[in-house]
Amino acid sequence: MKETGTTTVKRGMAQMQRGGVIMDVANVEQAKIAENAGAVAVMALERVPSDIRAAGGVARMSDPAMIKAIMAAVTIPVMAKVRIGHIAEARILEAIGVDYIDESEVLTPADDNYHINKNDYKVPFVCGCRDLGEALRRIGEGASMMRTKGEPGTGNIIEAVRHMEKVNEQIGHVKVADPDQLMTISRDLKAPYELVKQVHDLGKLPVVNFAAGGVSTPADAALMMNLGADGIFVGSGIFKSENPAKFAKAIVTATAHPTDYALIAKVSEHLGKPMKGIDISTLTEDQKMADRGI
């Protein structure tokens, strides 16, 4: 008897991605560049986050034809995004057979009360988080992989750094807490008690946690790996740079060797201009994607 869609195979898929880079791609050509550079997966979406910011309006799931064309063009896994709470978009992606669904704050939320019950799906989900409570609520809903939210499309790493540090600091706190304190911690984090207990026992999240939202240079990728990320999502950074193929390869190398600084220096040479970037303090409250779906 073959059992599909189990927690083990859904979480295991993300475990196999560890130490790798997942790249946002908008067409088949970009997907092939990503695969050639050594990406462990691609995220198929029509507009990268910085273009979504620039365009404004409602950002939705991408055209299934575009996603299917990318699935046919590469052998690495293909991920795609759905709006927070949009169960129909998620079922559509599951029907197409994408390998991972990102319930993402980068798109315009469809539901400001409830996230998708991700336990119900055969396809695994990744979700963003800014702190441990948010991570454990998403895992409680069935997320099989976490990532920092960062501040997508800004080319600014500070929010991803904050979110990674916050999660790890809170894990450290839960790990050394007296078992008698766990219910109160669970109340304060607004997180399920069983998952708080699991973090206490394991000393880490029960799923992998990637860095996302603002990674735009090989050094940014190395920084996030050194802060404890299991791997890296790069959105706008690669295909908004001057030489995407070279840039993508350099980020893969920096992620695989995050403490080999001589090597990172070498691959960072003559990469051309990275994306311009945005200072977070210039964003208005409704321009901050990280505050969506908490």
Partner: protein, 190 residues
């Protein structure tokens, strides 16, 4: 006894934990010098395309290929099986590999397996897994599914599984590798 785990990408820590639980020293291998002083090597699950590119970039492909030819014990899971069975990669097992043979992630599965010569079943976790459509001498199938796909095999010093023993809490495959392949080879060499 020291066993290396190729640490370019993938489920490295799971193998390190399993080997440590089996009582051997596990060491991550990221560059050529890390290969010295090892008694065996594990190639973990991950993305085989990515891992192959990194092996070439780090100039690790030919040194590991040479080790395979010299009879050095190597255990590959999932992506490791792909690399060991591809003639253009590590060329360590005489067989035909079908990548993502069971389909996409939606088709990833768990199932009980019968292993040749083992009395109790083994729990197989298959994630976008490859399989071998055939193996030729001197390679031998260890686990064959009802549909004929070969999902574990051995060729002298090379052991491969399509599934992920490192994601279970059952150390039998790692123990087999340590006792029957690494320890025996060390005896011969010393």
């Amino acid at each position: 006894m020291k066993i290396g785990v190729l640490a370019l990408q993938g489920a490295v820590s799971e193998h390190v934990d399993m080997l440590t639980a089996c009582g051997v020293t596990a060491r991550p291998v990221k560059e050529q010098p890390d290969l010295t002083g090892l008694d065996g090597l594990v190639i973990p699950g991950g993305e085989s395309t990515t891992m192959r590119k990194l092996l070439v970039r780090e100039q690790l492909l030919s040194p590991i290929k040479t080790l395979v030819q010299q009879g050095f014990p190597i255990f590959g899971t999932c992506a490791g099986l792909v690399l060991l069975a591809q003639p253009e990669s590590l060329d360590g097992l005489n067989g035909t590999v079908v990548r993502n043979g069971f389909g996409r992630q939606r088709e990833s599965f768990e199932t009980a397996l019968t292993v040749k010569g083992w009395s109790k079943p083994y729990h197989g976790i298959f994630i976008r897994a490859p399989y071998l459509s055939e193996v030729k001498q001197p390679a031998e199938a260890l686990v064959t599914l009802a549909d004929g796909q070969i999902v574990a095999a051995q060729q002298k010093n090379v052991l491969v599984t399509s599934f992920h023993p490192e994601l279970t809490s059952d150390p039998r495959f790692h123990q087999y590798f340590i006792d029957q392949m690494v320890a025996k080879r060390s005896d011969q060499v010393n």
